[in-house]
Amino acid sequence: MIYYIYDGSFEGLLTSIYDSFYRREYPDKIVSDDNFQPNLLIEAVHIKTDSEKASKVYNSIKNKISSSALENIFYVFLSEVENNEKIIYNYLRLGWKLENKIDLYLSDDRVLTVHKIVRRVKNERHRMLGLIRFRYLDKNTYYAPIEPQYNIIGLVAPHFTKRLSDQNWIIHDVNRKIAAVYDKREWYITDFKLNRELKYSDEEIFFQDLWKQYFNSIAIKNRINPRLQKRNMPMKYWKYLIEKS
């Protein structure tokens, strides 16, 4: 069994795909080095990330398949679902055969799997645009902790740079220990950890309180429907919602 081990970056994955074609090999699995557990049966090939190789693959996908295929595999990469590297690999192999018609092959499982994952990531991204809750800290800075299922922090940040362009903000992915930080000029993703619990000002507590009040009084008591509420707003997101925690 041939395993390709790469560094976990998108460039690393593209390099693995390049090498697989160059070596005329069909890897049984592509895994990032933190997920790799060696054993006797595995022939491990360590892939060295090479930005030149990566950009060749990148351009080839864009020009020979389509830019929406490129977008799709990036979403699948961010989904971090199990074995997503191989899903991407299979989809691209098919893509170089079918070219820009690939996304019409809805009956093919390789295409269908990709589309399903893309839809789930896009859905979570859209949901997060609404469910992120900023808390005011100090000096025009707002902080929002989230625990999304997929790695969507970089997908939501551009939305907030346009919308809340005159305030500093941090969107913190608590589980992945990363954050998107914006300083009124540009945004970037960085490693991030809170060292102590945050204390909020009276003003912040005041508005949180008003929001909870609003949330409660807007519901029509004769129509209470927790099932519908949970379907639209799954409980896994409730932890950081002001109105639900």
Partner: protein, 436 residues
Amino acid sequence: MELKKKLEILSAAAKYDVSCSSSGSTRKNKKGGIGNSHLSGICHSWSDDGRCISLLKILFTNNCIYDCAYCVNRASNDIPRATFTPEEVVSLTINFYRRNYIEGLFLSSAVFKNPDYTMELLLKTVKSLRTVYNFNGYIHLKAIPGADYRLISEAGTYVDRMSVNIELPSSNGLKLLAPQKNKESILKPMGFISTKIKENKDEKKIYRKPTTFVPAGQSTQLIVGATADSDLNILRLSENLYKRFNLKRVYYSAYVPVSDSPNLPAISSPPLLREHRIYQADWLLRFYGFSANEILDETNQNLDTQLDPKCDWALRNIHLFPIEINRADYETLLKVPGIGIKSAKRIISARRIGPINYDTLKKIGVVLKRARYFITCQGKFYGERSMNQEKIKQSILFNNFKDNTFTYNQEQLSMFSLYPNLFNKEESLSVIVGEF
């Protein structure tokens, strides 16, 4: 009065307004400003009744000069009253927006003193949000019927969406339950806004930087189940509103018993299932190419509560089916129960590659438990039954029951069957049959 108390009263007073969408506008942020709008709209939370919260939905005041029987804010009702100041509304909106609680503001109001005075207050609030605070988020404003057109027209340049509520689906209903309002006073401002929107669209073709006027369009709302109007009348009304006034949406709200006026039906809970079916029919009007007279006719004036309107229509027109998935055009595909906009589009694009088989249909997302009775796939019929209306209906209902799709509706069904009986008790209501 404390701000929190005011918010409690005035948001509770606004909760019967259903509209909460924040879609349809492409307003961009300006330099140094705050906010923008998102074309498809964004929901920010879901309240305990399962309805989405997208906008900060409040009344400016619940002091009302009118005494409409169905309304919780009617003058004769003994409830606490409050009035915001424009500054308070602005501060709430901006602070909620900065924390990403909301997508914008939905500002409505009871009629305080007189329509002009109320409209002036609303105008002052939205004007200050846009010009002083540079707020570019979504604003939905209620136009107060009877207010001066100059006020409505100025407000229109600041907001994204405007609406005038029709309230009741027939003029007889209005006469009985809201004697101070009439059909003309509601339709006139609606017509005015729709003409202004059209003028503005034409202006945009000529000038480079025209002022915007209600870019996200106009909507309205009516109450279902407070009068004896049939579903057919309601759908005909909606169809006319979509065609004549180019409305973006008509919202329906199941009547929630808020008063024991003798003119109102005495029900214990709102007719939610009926509301749901009317919404489904509304979607058929707007996106599926149906007309009101197709969905219902004089012999079937009300929607079937057990089946969705499209299924019901297909069963009544069983002679049009089955259709071949690989050959039918888009419009025909849309009329098959179990095939929606998305799956119809997917079928069309997958067909470009090769014929579609039954398995692919399932993968594409077609709801086969309904669709299979109405289609053939490469010439083969998968329905297990003959094309018999009654038999198909029984199997579909049995499937719904098996999947628990409708368990929560079970008790509502029983409530609903009581509903016509309750109406008959009210003699005064028998006069309300209506054409609008």
